[in-house]
């Protein structure tokens, strides 16, 4: 187990290092000069040269990479070219929104998926099952950004219940929560469609196992068997999928935040790419990759912990 953990940790770090090299290279060979973006098209060449020097863009590429990554290792992400404030501060300011969105969407995903999955699994080959499966096929086929537009159309444009976009800040928690309802739903429905299928098939598998039949044979009520015996055992694959879906949801915020104009990390990364705000983009891509990789890592470990058969094989 220790060896397994060590191997996975090394792999994780290697992946992040590779991501850092790729994003650094891509950002620094991108056409588009951060200096021009800041100073605009009427600026003079000597003002541009002065700013380029100030931003430290004249040093050789390799030197810049080394000094950047050395800073990152010590927790210093540098100062954003376009915002003029530390990148770490920019991220810290926007992280709560993205995190709140990702967590609430994941939570909603799990609730919806378990409810629908259990409904389908326990009504196998009945209308309930058929309905859930149809819904989930549809859910998987809907692009999240279109779903967002439909939600805006219905709840913001027609009914005017919820704001169509924007974020009022955390000062007014009720308004903040209202602003997050539609984005959360848009993110969660698609993921829930996937997870409901997993839950259902996992349920069906457990239902076929001997202990379920035994439990039913001993006269326990069907509902009790479902909730006390079948569901806990069916959760193993579900948990692992949830881990991966959390990663999906986090990257999904990139699009959703742009659709709803939410000032989170996803919107920041778009803005930073078009502003050629090199250090901010590099830090954010690294952060997103770290979340994805870590989620996979946690899933792997959960897998081993939950499923003793695997633990034996890895030892």
């Amino acid at each position: 187990m220790v060896l397994f953990l060590a191997k996975r940790t090394v792999g994780l770090l290697a992946t992040l290092l590779a991501v850092s090299v790729v994003v650094f290279l891509v950002m620094n060979v991108l056409p588009g000069d951060p200096v021009l973006v800041i100073l605009g098209i009427d600026s003079t060449p000597d003002a541009q040269a002065a700013l380029r020097e100030q931003l430290g863009l004249n040093a050789p590429l390799a030197d810049r990479y080394v000094s950047w990554i050395a800073g990152v290792v010590q927790g210093d992400f540098g100062t954003s070219h376009s915002f003029g404030v530390p990148v770490a501060g920019l991220i810290a300011e926007r992280l709560p929104l993205t995190l709140a969105l990702a967590l609430s969407a994941t939570l909603l995903t799990v609730i919806l998926a378990l409810a629908l999955g259990v409904l389908a699994g326990s009504n196998h080959r009945k209308p309930g099952d058929w309905g859930v499966m149809t819904l989930s096929q549809l859910g998987i086929a809907i692009p999240a950004f279109w779903l967002s537009m439909l939600l805006v159309l219905l709840f913001a444009v027609k009914l005017r219940w919820l704001p169509p976009g924007g974020f009022p800040g955390w000062g007014d928690p009720a308004a903040a929560a209202r602003a997050l309802v539609l984005p959360t739903v848009a993110l969660a429905l698609v993921q829930a469609a996937v997870l409901a299928r997993v839950t259902r098939s996992s349920m069906l598998e457990v239902l076929r196992l001997d202990f379920t039949r035994t439990a039913l044979a001993t006269g326990l009520s069907r509902g009790r068997v479902l909730w006390r015996h079948v569901l806990p055992n069916a959760l193993v694959p579900v948990v692992t999928i949830v881990g991966m879906q959390f990663a999906n949801v986090v990257t999904g915020t990139i699009v959703i935040e742009n659709v709803f104009y939410l000032p989170g990390l996803g919107r920041l990364i778009f803005q930073a790419i078009s502003n050629r705000d090199l250090l901010t983009v590099q830090a954010l891509v690294l952060l997103f990759a770290a979340i994805v990789v870590t989620a996979n890592f946690v899933v792997d470990i959960l897998y081993v912990l939950i499923d003793p058969r695997l633990r034996g094989r890895l030892a």
Partner: protein
């Protein structure tokens, strides 16, 4: 477990949707109700009529014609990207499986790595480097397909390598390449084709997302994703413009997903797990 020979429902529905979409795409090459890019500002935002079956958009273009031309874009991009990414990925997977050892490890680590890099970010950066275009959309989508196919084909190939007939060939002194071509490839065709069908759906979604973000095909070529992004700013004025292209995307994605499921049921009853 006896294999049922009846045609799965999903296969029928999926096949029908895919056939419909492909037919619309092909038909648009020779005929659309109106020239799809013809602008007629005076007749913008029209409702459905005998002349314009679904009405017109913000520049007075015929919606049915736009949707048909959009189907063409979707099918073309998805097809080229999946074939391209699928061939490279499958080749990599087969190679990894045939060589084994460190090479296999390396290829799979590379696949892991590309999963860690959000595909969307990759596409955005690609567009920033080369400018948005049809080609770049295809490259970006093909790229995200490579690791998927590499994994599927390697897993399937590893199984075939343990079968008697491959072992026999090995004993007979045949090389890895020859065995791969003669035995492995034909035996992994089924899972790869099933995967390709499903990846078609993914590719259509990806193309729509890229075009929605302005990184896909450029006007006057039509695209469902771009139609949606243009419709978004007009939600108050002409909500209907946001409906039809989305329905088309859903129908196409649903079609390929169902077709994939159905094909899997037929080709590999063990995978379908229908107790």
């Amino acid at each position: 477990m006896t294999a049922r020979r009846t045609l799965p429902v999903s296969l029928a529905i999926g096949g029908a949707l895919v056939a419909l979409m492909t037919a619309a795409a092909l038909l648009s090459l020779v005929w659309t109700p109106h020239p799809f890019a013809a602008i007629d500002v005076a007749n913008r935002f029209q409702g459905p009529s005998a002349d314009h079956w679904l009405g017109t958009d913000q520049l007075g273009r015929d919606l049915v014609s736009q949707l048909m031309a959009g189907a063409r874009t979707s099918v073309a991009i998805a097809f080229v990207a999946v074939v391209l990414g699928g061939s490279i990925g499958t080749a990599l997977g087969l190679f990894a499986s045939a060589v084994g050892g460190i090479v296999e490890d390396a290829v799979m680590r590379l696949a892991d790595f590309s999963f860690a890099f959000p595909a969307l970010l990759f596409a955005i950066m690609l567009a920033a480097v080369f400018g948005p275009s049809l080609t770049n959309a295809i490259v970006a989508i093909a790229f995200i397909n490579i690791p998927v196919f590499a994994r599927v084909s390697r897993a399937a190939a590893n199984q075939v390598w343990t079968r008697e007939f491959t072992l026999a060939s090995q004993v007979a002194g045949r090389g890895g390449f020859a065995i791969t071509v003669d035995h492995i490839l034909p035996n992994i065709a089924a899972p790869v084709i099933v995967q390709a069908t499903i990846e078609f759906a993914v590719a259509i979604l990806a193309e729509a997302a890229l075009s929605y973000l302005g990184l896909g095909v450029q006007p006057p070529a039509a695209s469902w994703g771009r139609m949606l992004s243009e419709a978004q700013t007009l939600l108050y004025l002409a909500p209907q413009l946001a409906i039809y292209p989305g329905l088309c995307i859903v129908a196409a994605v649903l079609g390929f997903n169902l077709l994939g499921d159905g094909l899997r049921d037929i080709t590999d009853p063990r995978l379908s797990r229908r107790p």
